[in-house]
Amino acid sequence: MEDIDAIAALQDPVRRRLYEFVAARGREVGRNEAAEAVGVQRTLAAFHLDRLVEAGLLESGSRRLTGRSGPGAGRPAKVYRRSPVERQVALPARDYRTAADLLAEAAEAAGLDDGVREAARRRGRALRGPVGDREELASLLRSRGYEPYWDEDEGEGRDGSGPVLRMRNCPFHSVAERFPPLVCGMNLALLEGLLEGADGWRARMDPRPGECCTVVEPSKNNEP
């Protein structure tokens, strides 16, 4: 399916809400859960979820949601998660990904990490917004495409000063995969610039498979 057709599949408002709900979970979601979250009948949710799979925006699998197995456990339920395939449309046609890839390749070959980070830090500063409380901070990062969420497992953070903000999405994913140290270093500098002057927050690297390599955590004011 062409990118433009896949994106057009989101025109239906229910379908779009279902897509956004599944994407925001960061895990597999069953039909009942999605239907409840969006406030529609299960059969309608199932219909739209399957259309999203056909459009290549979601992937489906099956799983026993009860955790039981063997006789009496029931049929495995159909579950959905966001597809890792990127979709984009630019009109008129633009190809910034190839441009980014070529620039990154040249920067990597020339060892321009410092210059790239300086530019990213300046850009981060220019993009600063209010981060007075947790919601403002999350909102600022959300607006940059990071899909932030508070890590409940991490509880009170490294030094007991509060929870850690993790990010499900890397906005620079395809270049970051090709040149991880260069692009992840650029991303960290961008976030450092974004949080500059924001008392109480700092960005640091804490990479995990499948997420952005950076987390934002509470900091004492005297720390960098």
């Binding site: 060892g111 410092d114 991880p180 140290p181 992840c184 960290l188 990479p207």
Partner: protein, 184 residues
């Protein structure tokens, strides 16, 4: 999916230090060696890493030149290696690599498939890196961006399939607990 359990992925990585290891300008790198190596040892899919005699890492071994440190490891597959190198605390070391290491003039990393249980030698590793430099990526020596599966390597090198029967499958933990340097 081919059965990869009979094959493991060997990885050689060399890096030329900008300063000697006792220089304060590389102190942060030296301090990171132990925790980063411990991270590798505990990483999913880690099999083995080269260490110098009487050492916990490979920084004392300099077969590629007096300033060039070497990292030779074995993993269950490319994904496990990738997740360690770029999706763990090791990435922070990579991010600072320019502070500590010279820029690479030529290929500095080579990967190749070995029979599970096989412990690659430095000579073997050097050969693969030379092959990569001379002929570009092939199933016998490749990189992350030009990766080959064990199946492709076996098709290209029948000797690999023959040898895979010799070693006990899954005996790759041999040498785990010995240590080597961070892959930079």
């Amino acid at each position: 999916m081919p059965d990869n359990s009979r094959f493991h992925l060997a990885q050689l990585n060399i890096a030329a230090l900008r300063f000697p290891l006792d220089d304060p300008r590389v102190a942060d790198f030296v301090a990171a060696l132990e925790p980063i190596n411990a991270l590798a040892d505990a990483a999913p899919g880690f099999v083995w890493r080269l260490v110098g005699e009487g050492s916990d890492d490979a920084t004392g071994l300099r077969p590629f030149g007096p300033d060039v440190i070497v990292n030779l490891t074995v993993w269950e597959g490319a994904e496990a290696l990738w997740d360690y190198v770029y999706r763990s605390g090791h990435l922070e070391v990579m991010r600072r690599r320019r502070e500590w290491f010279q820029r690479h003039a030529e290929a500095h990393l080579a990967m190749w498939w070995v029979p599970a249980g096989h412990v690659p030698s430095l000579a073997e590793a050097a050969e693969r890196l030379e092959l990569l430099c001379a002929e570009g990526p092939s199933p016998r020596a490749f990189t992350f961006t030009s990766s080959y599966t064990a199946e492709e390597a076996r098709a290209a090198d029948p000797a690999l399939a023959d040898r895979s029967g010799a070693g006990p499958a899954g005996a790759g933990r041999a040498g785990a607990g010995q240590a080597s340097s961070a892959a930079v």
